[in-house]
């Protein structure tokens, strides 16, 4: 009697430890497979772009001509287009982002207005990229065209400027959410000390809050930049898709993401499709670095 009990006891604990092991191993396998997935993604891009790296070398980065028929692959117009649209978008979005972050994090922390504004900004992040592009095509482009006629420049409508405006709307929520958090996390004793010295709210914001949250704002803008660099659909629909170096911010151009979207399915020949994959590889690496630096800054903030 006693022996059977012991036996089942032993069996039972064996079964438990087997399940226990199975459970931990499953979790471990999933974690490992996520790591492998990302490494494999990077390696796939690298391997697939080898034909282009071999054929084009460094001229890929500074070459101005992108001509698949003659086999010339210089991606400079796309690099320039991506950098121009992204930084222009940041330039437009930053003042608005900081204003909204101050509105939500400092001026009106509670109440219906701030709740409403917060929800609206969240919605801005929820709208699909292709709908931004569609709306831009039919509402923004005619306005830009009128502006261009008024400024007496060729009224393309589509171009770097239009793409940047749409991009700035799309990346705003990402810059705002982080900036708001760091402004809210700001210890109130510092602010109160400044108020006690007779500072106005503006002076507190400028001389106490801003210096304190500067790195947080920077991280937020950096993450927004990461978004902007990889954004595809809306930009593809508005940038004009001209494979030439843009000569002004109103000129049509092309970006790294949109050239992939436009040409990847039609790319014939090993070097051509490899060149497009190489653009993807560049995007992958640049965005990964920007994101990791941004996350590092945030982590650093959280510990101090």
């Amino acid at each position: 009697m006693n022996e059977t009990l012991k036996l089942t006891d032993a069996n039972w604990s064996k079964a438990i430890s087997r399940k226990e092991k199975g459970f931990t191993i499953t979790l471990w396998l999933v974690a490992i497979s996520v790591i492998i997935l990302v490494m494999a993604a990077f390696l796939t891009l690298l391997v697939q772009s080898i034909p282009s790296i071999k054929a084009n070398g460094f001229s890929f980065i500074y070459g101005r001509m992108w001509n698949p028929i003659t086999g010339e692959f210089g991606a400079l117009p796309f690099l320039a287009g991506t950098l121009l649209t992204s930084f222009l978008a940041l330039l437009i979005a930053t003042p608005f982002s900081i204003a909204v972050a101050l509105f939500l994090g400092e001026y009106y922390k509670k109440g219906m207005m701030s709740q409403l504004l917060k929800n609206m900004i969240d919605l801005l992040a929820a709208i699909p990229s292709v709908i931004y592009g569609f709306w831009g095509l039919f509402v923004l482009i005619p306005i830009v065209r009128k502006l261009q006629i008024a400024l007496d420049i060729p009224p393309y409508g589509v171009g770097i400027f239009s793409a940047s405006v749409i991009l700035s709307i799309m990346i705003m929520p990402y810059a705002i959410s982080l900036s708001r958090q760091v402004i809210q996390m700001m210890p109130s004793d510092l602010k109160e000390a400044a108020y006690a010295l007779g500072a106005t709210r503006f002076e507190v914001i400028r001389k106490v809050i801003f210096p304190h949250v500067l790195s947080g704002l920077f991280a937020g803008i950096l993450l927004a930049l990461g978004r902007a660099l990889g954004e595809t659909m809306a930009v593809t629909m508005l940038v004009g898709n001209t494979n030439a170096l843009p000569d002004s911010i109103f000129a049509p151009g092309n970006t790294m993401a949109s050239v992939i979207a436009n040409e990847f399915t039609e790319a014939t020949g090993a070097v051509y499709s490899a060149a497009l994959v190489e653009i993807g590889l560049l995007l992958f690496v640049v965005v990964a670095i920007i994101n990791l630096v941004g996350k590092r800054i945030i982590k650093h903030l959280a510990y101090t």
């Binding site: 438990i16 399940k19 226990e20 459970f23 979790l27 471990w28 999933v30 974690a31 490992i32 996520v34 990302v38 993604a41 796939t44 891009l45 697939q48 003042p95 608005f96 204003a99 909204v100 101050l102 509105f103 001026y107 504004l117 609206m120 900004i121 919605l123 929820a126 709208i127 699909p128 990229s129 292709v130 709908i131 931004y132 592009g133 569609f134 709306w135 509402v139 106005t200 709210r201 503006f202 002076e203 914001i205 990461g226 990889g230 954004e231 595809t232 659909m233 629909m237 993401a257 992939i260 990847f264 399915t265 497009l276 994959v277 993807g280 995007l283 992958f284 965005v287 990964a288 990791l292």
Partner: protein, 282 residues
């Protein structure tokens, strides 16, 4: 008060506040314009036949987007089935083994994965799935969307489980409950609302993605429910019709946009509801 310097400081203070409020209100203007325009354009093109018919060639009226609606549900549903279990398990691992080396690298990998531009995800899945399967397919589209959902779900699971207080776990272990049961029956249920709303938000995030579908699911003018064949989806239809030169097709695209926005908004609303209803509180 007579001191002009104090007066000037007060004016500057008011001016700055005015500027902040003005810019904040201006920042909401695009959203209102977009929603207004889509509602106005979309409503006129939505009717029963729009939801149940297949697209018709240019010039014939009465075309619909039923294949795109069905396609979106299938593609996103399959993606969710792939991504949610993996994402939740990865999130549990990240929370449970947070100090291990594997967890650190896994965290890093998830950060990188989250940042990969959607179009690059499209290339990666093209090389992995489309090439090996020998053609565009709905399954490859699902795989691309799953790859985009995975990091998001893992992150939200991790963040949610972080909030579950340690004493619950300790109490369970002290009662002699095995570790795996403690995780599955105590820790995960305590964070279930967060995990659930994370999963729904993950779906809402990828349902409007177009770029990763361009060279995976590819699109299909006919009704298709086979995962191994190209399949239509709402974002693809919007993109193709919006960039076409035909007025009828633009109308269809507005209708499709309205439906897509409504789906996304509903999913967002559900997560807000779940979060407010079953918030983790201890």
């Amino acid at each position: 008060m007579a001191d002009p310097q104090i007066k000037w400081r007060k004016i500057k203070n008011d001016l700055f506040k005015g500027l902040v409020v003005f810019l904040s209100l201006l920042a909401t203007l695009p959203l209102l314009l977009i929603l207004f325009y889509i509602l106005r354009q979309g409503f006129s093109s939505i009717n029963w036949s729009f939801l149940t018919n297949l697209p018709k060639p240019v010039g014939e009226s009465g075309g619909g987007i039923s294949n795109a609606i069905v396609g979106t549900l299938i593609i996103v549903g399959t993606a969710a089935v792939m991504a949610i279990p993996l994402g939740v398990l990865a999130g549990i691992y990240l929370n449970e083994q947070r100090n291990s080396k594997v967890a650190r690298y896994c965290d890093l990998a998830i950060d990188v994965l989250q940042g990969i531009p959607s179009i690059v995800i499209g290339i990666i899945i093209y090389e992995w799935v489309v090439r090996t399967m020998g053609g565009f397919s709905a399954f490859s589209g699902s795989a691309a969307l799953a790859l985009m959902m995975l990091p998001f779900i893992a992150k939200t699971t991790q963040e949610t489980l972080k909030l579950v207080p340690n004493h619950l776990k300790e109490a369970s272990l002290a009662l002699g409950v095995p570790y795996y049961k403690t995780v599955l029956k105590v820790i995960v249920p305590a964070g279930l609302s967060g995990i659930l709303s994370g999963a729904i938000l993950g779906i809402a995030r990828v349902i409007g993605e177009t770029a990763p579908l361009l060279f995976t699911a590819f699109g299909n003018p006919f009704m298709s429910t086979e995962l191994s064949k190209p399949m239509s989806s709402l974002p693809l239809v919007i993109f193709n019709y919006a960039t076409s030169p035909y007025e009828d097709w633009h109308q269809l695209a507005w209708g499709a946009s309205l439906i897509l926005i409504l789906i996304v908004l509903t999913l967002n609303m559900i997560t807000k509801f779940i979060e407010s209803r079953w918030k983790i509180q201890f």
